[in-house]
């Protein structure tokens, strides 16, 4: 067949071209090693850049970019510029792992930022612990990501963690609504399961007995039967864990029942067009976030807001920064990685990992981090750093604290 073009002359020509190419490559390598000191320090970012979570991936990119530009404007770190190298994981664990491997082995990144979805992060965790390269999770909340049981843990997080969110949900509901008998309505997947454990533990610690635990499917049209069970069991508030689609089905089912209990939720609703899907009562769902650009901003908040507006023409005000959590977490993540590199004094992954433990002060967007990490604690945020928000029209607004 003519697919098989194996004439000797062609082979020769190909071999010749290959030779030229490899010589050129070697020359380039030699040349570049001479100016290595001026080379940028690469920071990898593995996140969904397409599909359902593309907006969140874009928010992470923007937060990281603003921080990197700010650091580079001040002369970079260790005299070198920072550079962001992005890879799309398409919310697919296998692709996420592949991307992380490529960033570490080929791009030689100093650290990887990544993990929008818990399953993707969980796929990357064993690899980075093996490769001994710091991995900082700016989003995914799965408890096991940082609590991964590795003897030598290279995984850190600047985001909410399920276990802490669950504690915060219980605290908030009992303080704000006096909830004494909450009903749990959870999506039937690993995320729902993880929070079922967390919520039950948090309730037990608070001495509260739940009215019941009900699960619903991602594709359920009608959650009335589950909610009716909780209502009959005397639930005085609902704890909701589910992505934006299923969460909206809960709100619509409550509408039909004519039941309006306080709803305290994990951050699922923040991931999409909740008001469009759930209707006007979307505003009844109060959910956790790590940051909001609304209200009185700290000096860092004002600085980042101005930088975002200057760089991205589509950002006219705080409402245009969605999801704000992505921007804020990624911004702080880059500052923290930079601080760790500074402490390490060299671009060596293990030295940088040890640098995380030595960070004593970072002026972040979410808060001022004082000694954020220890060998036992790899999460920079705690349940006291969360804020409570709800949708007003299409914007995520902080709930007035009382």
């Amino acid at each position: 067949m003519n697919y098989n073009c194996s004439s000797p002359s062609l082979l020769h020509r190909r071999g010749f071209v290959r030779g030229i190419a490899s010589t050129a490559f070697a020359a380039a390598l030699l040349a570049s090693s001479g100016v290595l000191a001026a080379d940028p320090i690469k920071i990898g970012l593995v996140t969904a850049l397409s599909g359902q979570s593309a907006r969140a991936g874009e928010a992470l990119t923007r937060g990281a970019t603003i921080a990197i530009e700010e650091i580079n404007a001040k002369g970079g770190v260790l005299g070198r510029r920072l550079e962001l190298v992005r890879r799309d994981d398409e919310s697919n664990p296998a692709k996420g792992l592949l991307a992380a491997r490529e960033l570490i082995q080929r791009e030689k990144v100093a650290a990887v930022i990544g993990g929008l979805d818990t399953p993707v992060a969980m796929a990357i965790v064993p690899f980075v612990n093996n490769a001994k390269v710091p991995f900082v999770d700016p989003w995914a909340a799965g408890t096991a990501i940082t609590h991964n049981g590795a003897a030598d843990n290279y995984v850190f997080r600047v985001s909410a963690m399920d276990q802490d969110v669950d504690k915060a949900i219980v605290q908030y509901a009992s303080k704000k609504f006096g909830a004494k008998k909450p009903g749990l309505i959870l999506v039937n997947n690993p995320w729902g399961e993880s929070n079922e454990h967390g919520l039950k533990a948090a309730l037990k610690a608070a001495g509260i007995e739940p009215a019941g635990v009900e699960k619903f499917q991602d594709n359920d049209v009608d959650v009335v039967p589950q909610l009716s069970r909780l209502k009959q069991a005397g639930a005085d508030a609902l704890f909701l864990v589910g992505n934006v689609g299923p969460s909206s089905q809960v709100v619509k089912s409550l509408d039909r029942m004519g039941w309006a209990p306080p709803i305290v939720s994990h951050w699922g609703p923040a991931g999409g067009r909740f008001t469009e899907l759930a209707g006007p009562n979307a505003k009844n769902v109060i959910f956790v976030q790590t940051y909001s650009f609304f209200g009185n901003l700290s000096p860092v908040g004002k600085k980042v807001m101005a930088a975002l507006q200057a760089k991205y023409p589509d950002i006219k005000g705080p409402a245009d920064i969605t999801p704000a959590v992505g921007v804020a977490n990624a911004y702080d993540t880059v500052l923290i990685i930079t601080a760790a590199i500074q402490k390490a004094g060299k671009v060596d992954p293990t030295a940088i990992r040890n640098g995380f433990y030595e960070i004593d002060h970072v002026d972040g967007l979410i808060k001022t981090y004082q000694k954020p990490f220890t060998k036992e604690r790899h999460d920079a945020l705690t349940e006291n750093d969360y804020i409570w928000t709800r949708f007003e029209d299409n914007h995520i607004m902080p709930v007035a604290s009382n």
């Binding site: 359902q52 009608d222 039909r256």
Partner: protein, 291 residues
């Protein structure tokens, strides 16, 4: 949950399954084949409906028929390229071919529509009607069973009382004899596929406001609808609709009285039990070839 609300919710849910399941019945009654990706036909209808009616704001009088036309064309394409070539060869590969087309369509929808679920507003799904205490339903949820039963009746009458209908039944019994009698067998089968996809389109337009539109909305519905079609007996329109309602009721009762952890287990265990006790479905007849 008291009895009445459970029944109301169950019937509303079950009629959605029944409505989609009618599509399986239509092609099976005429050709002995089905489009296994009926769920994807529904997704197609919902996405088309979202573009025409929500995004581009076409009036219903134009948008709804256009959705149904698109579905009909899709049904014809399925029949022409995924079913006919295999049936002509006496092969059962249409089974896999229709599944494959469904996967292709799902991925195309993902491409066109994106992964993010979107709302499909309808005036019939805004203010719930309180039938009893805690038993509110949207008017649309009452409309779906009505439409489903009406369509089942129309299909039943069409195949039993009209010349074309009887001709279509003749096609499945003996295509060659039917052909000799001057019945255009090819056209009858193609028409049944178009009708099947139109039914999916109707189901999509009725379900989307309750469910939101997403690129994978048809998957689970398709499976449940297929279960309904099998339980009902593929050959009977009434049986299929009845089985859909039963499935919805079983689901809601299992959730209400035992808890949501048991819903899927009880529902699909019931499917098996029903089929063991009634191998030809609720209203199916013995001697019909099963797929």
């Amino acid at each position: 949950m008291s009895l009445l609300p459970a029944i109301v919710t169950g019937l509303a849910l079950g009629s959605m399954y029944g409505l989609l399941a009618l599509g399986f019945h239509v092609t099976y009654a005429v050709s002995g084949t089905v489009n296994f990706s009926q769920g994807s036909s529904m997704t197609l209808g919902a996405v088309a409906g979202y573009f025409f009616l929500v995004l581009w704001g076409w009036p219903g009088a134009i948008g709804i028929p256009m959705v149904l036309v698109i579905c009909a064309i899709y049904g014809l394409i399925i029949e022409r390229y995924a079913v006919r070539p295999f049936v002509q060869r006496g092969s059962e590969n249409w089974l896999m071919a229709t599944v494959a087309v469904g996967i292709i369509v799902d991925n195309l929808m993902l491409f066109v529509f994106g992964k993010e679920p979107r709302g499909f507003p309808s005036i019939l799904a805004v203010t719930p009607i309180q039938i009893a205490k805690d038993a509110g339903v949207y008017p649309l949820q009452l409309l779906i069973p009505v439409v489903g039963l009406l369509l089942a009746m129309v299909l039943h009458l069409f195949t039993r009382r009209t010349r074309h209908g009887v001709a279509m039944l003749a096609v499945v019994q003996n295509p060659n004899a039917a052909r000799l009698m001057g019945i255009n067998v090819g056209r009858a089968i193609a028409a049944s596929y178009a009708a099947s996809a139109i039914l999916a389109g109707i189901a999509a337009l009725l379900i989307a406001p309750l469910f939101n539109v997403s690129s994978d909305m048809g998957t689970l519905f398709g499976i449940k609808a297929f279960a309904a079609a099998i339980i009902g007996g593929l050959g009977s329109a009434w049986g299929v609709m009845l089985a859909g309602l039963c499935l919805g009721l079983i689901e809601v009762f299992a959730t209400s009285y035992l808890g949501s952890v048991y819903t899927q287990i009880i529902t699909f265990a019931s499917v098996i039990v029903i089929l063991v006790v009634m191998p030809h479905g609720l209203l199916g007849r013995a001697g019909v070839k099963k797929v």
